[in-house]
């Protein structure tokens, strides 16, 4: 009996095929993830070059950190506002652009194009537009409205950051919804019409259930994405005014890279990882309740 049986050879080929991707994720995902966990148990003074094991001390600090609480509240507002606005706007646009009318292609392109623009360039342009004498207030002034100093007021700054991010990315979800809408079989609508269902009922009873897998997908990626929004905050508000837009990932950056508390920064990223994991898990579990074909 030879060592290289058919089965073993088959396995080896299989492993070789997945090896490049596997090595990549070990080196760039699993190892950094483990290192972050390890750093979070240490006090790392970058300048002094000291690295000292302190056990759970960083986690105790996490619990007592008032600024972290503020930052979690800001994160909840930001993520909540972003997800609701992004998904409803994306769905609305997709439904509107799913009509067989002249010019829809033009509008689809128009709404999708911000997705392709460089993030920082996009944000810098918005920063100019949102200045007290910027074009947003210029437009408002045209209608006789005296616009606020968007990026300097606590609530208007949060709204601005959310809107800038939604307009940037709504096109992506819109395209996903469009694809899903076009997969809904037309005979279903015809049958419902014959049964006397109005447009709103058809939307609620046919469209929504049939595109629910896409709603699940878009809501997961939008929520996870909203927790990782960094550049817009860094450019537009630097977490201000006050700490009103200091979301978790920006707070993490401040602690680790600005205040040189790398160990504590790592601890916050463990927290962020846990939040993302829990949210995703909850959504994945809940899919049985409302996503078609999943129960």
């Amino acid at each position: 009996m030879t060592f290289w049986t058919y089965r073993r050879r088959d396995n080896l080929v299989g492993y070789l095929f997945v090896a490049p991707a596997l090595l990549g994720s070990i080196a760039f995902v699993l190892v950094p993830l483990a290192l972050v966990g390890w750093y979070s148990l240490n006090e790392w003074n970058v300048l002094g070059g000291t690295f000292e094991f302190i056990g759970a001390e960083n986690y105790e600090r996490l619990l007592a950190d008032e600024k972290l609480r503020d930052s979690l509240v800001a994160t909840a507002w930001f993520a909540g506002g972003l997800v609701v606005l992004n998904l409803s706007l994306a769905l609305l646009l997709a439904v509107l652009l799913n009509q067989k009318l002249r010019g829809t292609t033009l509008f689809r392109t128009l709404f999708f194009s911000p997705v392709l623009v460089s993030l920082v360039a996009w944000t810098l342009v918005w920063q100019l537009m949102l200045q007290p004498e910027g074009s947003v207030n210029g437009l408002l002034g045209f209608f006789g409205v005296d616009g606020p100093n968007w990026l300097r007021g606590e609530s208007t700054a949060m709204v601005s950051v959310i809107v800038v991010q939604v307009v940037k990315n709504v096109g992506l979800n819109m395209v996903l919804f469009l694809a899903a809408l076009q997969g809904v079989p037309a005979p279903l609508y015809e049958a419902a019409k014959l049964d006397g269902a109005g447009a709103w009922t058809r939307f609620l009873r046919i469209t929504i259930p049939l595109i629910s897998p896409t709603i699940l997908l878009t809501s997961i990626i939008t929520i996870v994405g909203s927790l990782q929004v960094f550049a817009q905050i860094a450019v537009l508000t630097q977490g201000g005014p006050g700490t009103s837009t200091t979301v978790l990932i920006y707070y993490l950056y401040q602690q680790a890279f600005q205040f040189h508390h790398f160990g504590y920064g790592a601890t916050i990223s463990v927290l962020l990882f846990a939040i993302v994991a829990v949210l995703t898990l909850v959504q994945w579990r809940m899919r049985r309740k409302w996503v078609l074909h999943e129960s």
Binding site: L23, V46, P132
Partner: protein, 397 residues
């Protein structure tokens, strides 16, 4: 499964094998991070480096690595954290206490030529226990640039300066309603301080500070002299009556289409004062070539090269601090301006506020001051709030 494990182990081995390090012998290369990308600055630095390499064949390369000034310290510490520390680095005054006290820098006094002629107000920030940890290569006083096309009568007090620039813009180019330390160029005239000399107690709630900040608030929202939050006005393009800036900015006025002059900072209620911005060059202790780096630093900052660098970076050497020497390298400024702003400024000036854990203080104060930048702000209340927020940070051992 065992094959999978073997794969993982190999990957881990490959990763950890890169970690080894040892002191270099033989040809050496040096890297210095700087925040300028100005061609004239880099040209002069490269010239000095070329001269040094000619005399020291073992140093084969000296590279000046331009890192954007915005976020400079963050980039530098990230490089250090990533095990990619430069051999030499420019350092901002505000990060001086952190770098000097942490032990990240190598001592350099022995390498500095004629170290005893350095002005004490310039070296103070870079010393610990009598040793020097960075060379103060730029000691740049703040002055008041005035657009003489827009302002006919030159101000000598802050009251006059604000009155003369009402509606015509008095700008603080680096402030941007974030870098609050720039405001020390005003509040020092009221005798106010961000914190006490020992750094332990907060100065924001003091009466001097409240008076000074009430003056600033009025200058912004009532007198409309200082441009409000979110508005940018460029003095150097001729759009403002006055600007509080460092004399190193005078170069930007070379081709100015308007008349201008440079004055010392106006007087506050407490009379004359000066504020200086500083920058040092340090040698990173963990550099494999720390010795060679310190040696090059000694050469870069010797009296001859300091005189050359003086055209961009005001020197801290007493022998160079006279109007004649400075005039040679600063053709845009008149000898009396050099005397009153630069030389007097360096000798009597206090450095912009700096403290251990500066960046955390910066962000905390920035956030606590934000409510002040509204027309109806209660100045006293906001400033009391600043002290409440930073007290724990100042009292940290």
């Amino acid at each position: 499964m065992s094959r999978l494990l073997a794969l993982i182990c190999t990957a881990l081995l490959a990763l950890t094998a890169c970690g080894g390090s040892s002191a270099q012998s033989g040809p050496k290369t040096l890297r210095m991070t700087v925040w300028t990308a100005n061609e004239a600055h880099l040209k002069l630095l490269t010239e000095i480096a070329t001269e040094y390499k000619a005399a020291h064949p073992d140093v084969t390369e000296i590279k000046f690595d331009s890192v954007p000034a915005d976020g400079y310290t963050t980039t530098l510490t990230t490089q250090i954290a990533g095990g990619n520390a430069p051999d030499l680095a420019w350092l901002l005054e505000e990060s001086a206490p952190d770098f000097v006290s942490s032990g990240a820098l190598a001592p350099i006094r022995g390498k500095v030529e004629k170290a005893d002629e350095l002005v004490p107000s310039a070296t103070k920030l870079w010393e610990k226990d009598g040793e020097l940890y960075a060379y103060p290569f730029s000691t740049s006083p703040f002055g008041l640039f005035v657009n003489t096309d827009l302002v006919k009568e030159l101000p000598t007090t802050w009251e006059q300066a604000v009155a003369a620039s009402a509606g015509k813009n008095l700008v603080l180019p680096d402030f941007k309603y974030q870098n609050w330390a720039v405001l020390s160029t005003i509040w020092r005239g009221w005798g106010a301080n961000a914190w006490s000399e020992d750094g332990k107690s907060c100065g924001f709630a003091g009466q001097e500070m409240k008076d000074a900040m009430a003056f600033v608030h009025k200058a912004i929202f009532t007198d409309k002299a200082i441009p409000g939050p979110g508005t940018t006005v460029d003095f150097f393009a001729g759009n403002a009556a006055m600007a509080v800036s460092q004399i190193s900015r005078a170069g930007a006025l070379k081709d100015a289409k308007f008349g201008w002059t440079l004055l010392p900072l106006p007087q506050g209620p407490k009379g004359d004062y000066a504020v200086i911005g500083q920058a040092g060059v340090g040698v990173l202790k963990r550099s494999k070539n720390a010795d060679a780096a310190a040696d090059f630093l000694g050469f870069l900052t010797n009296p001859t090269n300091s005189a050359k660098l003086a055209q961009f970076f005001p020197p801290a050497r007493q022998s160079l601090l006279n109007a004649d020497t400075l005039a040679k390298s600063n053709p845009l400024l008149k000898p009396e301006q050099l005397q009153s702003v630069v030389i007097d400024g360096i000798n009597k000036g206090v450095v912009k506020p700096s403290h251990q854990g500066q960046e955390e203080l910066n962000q905390t104060i920035r956030a606590a001051l934000d409510p002040l930048w509204k027309p109806d702000a209660n100045v006293g209340q906001v400033l009391d709030g600043v002290c409440a927020k930073i007290k724990p940070l100042l009292e940290r051992p």
